[in-house]
């Protein structure tokens, strides 16, 4: 690829990403009343999206190969227990991450 072709390729990705981010705001501008169905989606979607993002983070983890998802399951359990116990976001995240790093570096 020439430099110009590279710039066009990167430009196509930039424009595509911009469209996915700006489209909802262009279709439903702030000045106009947003349809009730869309407001409903805006309220219920995030909870489902957070579930999707958790699965998305774990998409390449395999139960059948490597460490059989054991470090992931243990570390997520640590996050959940820490968060139910103290409900300190940073503590839960740091605890789970340190646990995971120790497991993948020293145990598995």
């Amino acid at each position: 690829m020439t430099l110009l072709q590279q710039i066009i390729t990167i430009g196509a990705v930039v424009v595509g990403t911009l469209i996915t981010r700006f489209l909802p705001f262009l279709i439903f501008p702030a000045g106009k009343e947003t349809p009730r169905y869309v407001k409903y989606l805006g309220k219920v979607l995030p909870a489902a999206v957070f579930g999707l993002l958790v699965i998305y983070c774990l998409r390449n983890v395999s139960v059948f190969s490597g460490s059989h998802a054991i470090p992931e399951l243990i570390s997520i359990a640590v996050v959940v227990v820490l968060h139910l116990w103290k409900r300190q976001m940073l503590l839960s995240i740091a605890g789970g991450t340190v646990c995971y790093m120790l497991l993948v570096q020293l145990v598995f």
Binding site: P46, A48, V54, C57, L90, G96, Y100
Partner: protein, 240 residues
């Protein structure tokens, strides 16, 4: 007057910064990985610098590297981007109300709305004495700085980095688990949370790691639409 405006900005920064710490860990690491990947693929550090700044959508940047290494096909690059980043549409729909009335800040907030930034800006309980617009701008900007600096450093120093940080990117997974739990604690009805987990998991099994996002989104949208009469009128989806 000027002084108090500065106070507002400083207070928003102080409130926003702790929320971005897990992203700092995750983005520096992933950004470095991405920059190193470009470095070993034969690209100057200018590529990860500009790509991380302009595209600012992690997984798509990795894919763009492989696109740059194959035959020139910008239409394919464009369509792939729409598919892979389609989840941003959901973020936009969720933020329509929250971004209202923020003027110029809104443009940047939409531009910089990656997975992590959306999740924080949507779920953070911003104290009443903190300016909402500035808070979200700082979350967005800090996350972008982490990502761009990681990618650029990786592009510059590439294979010279040998620190054993294996597994630090789990910070991102841990953060999404925590945000998922926070949403769970706040909602009275957990249908949507459970649907998100279950439908995505089923789609992952059926379509595989590279193709499951769009089917998951369609499934989530369909089921939530079908359940609208059940979820909406009783005010079960009331959020804080």
């Amino acid at each position: 007057m000027v002084q108090s405006e500065r106070g507002v900005v400083v207070r928003a920064f102080k409130a926003a910064f702790p929320y971005t710490l897990p992203i700092f860990a995750g983005f520096e690491f992933l950004g470095l990985t991405y920059g190193m990947y470009m470095n070993v693929s034969g690209f100057s550090f200018l590529y990860p610098l500009f790509m991380s700044m302009l595209i600012f959508a992690g997984s798509m940047e990795f894919i763009t590297v492989s696109l740059l290494l194959t035959a020139f096909n910008p239409l394919q690059a464009f369509l792939m981007t729409l598919m892979i980043n389609a989840r941003h549409l959901f973020y936009g729909l969720s933020m329509l109300e929250k971004f209202k009335g923020l003027g110029w800040k809104k443009i940047y907030l939409i531009y910089g709305m990656c997975d992590e930034t959306f999740s924080i800006n949507f779920s953070a309980r911003i104290p009443v004495d903190v300016d909402r617009g500035w808070f979200m701008v700082f979350v967005t900007a800090l996350n972008q700085v982490y990502w761009v600096s990681g990618a650029t450093l990786g592009g510059l120093f590439g294979s010279m980095i040998t620190l054993n940080t294996e597994g630090i990117d789990f910070a991102m997974t841990a953060m999404f688990v925590v945000i998922f739990m926070e949403q769970w604690i706040r909602d009275r009805d957990h249908t949507s949370s459970l649907l998100g987990l279950a439908l995505s998991f089923v789609c992952l099994l059926v379509f595989g790691a590279d193709n499951f996002i769009i089917p998951s989104m369609i499934a989530i949208l369909l089921v939530l639409t079908l359940l609208r009469s059940h979820l909406e009128p009783r005010g079960k989806v009331g959020l804080a």
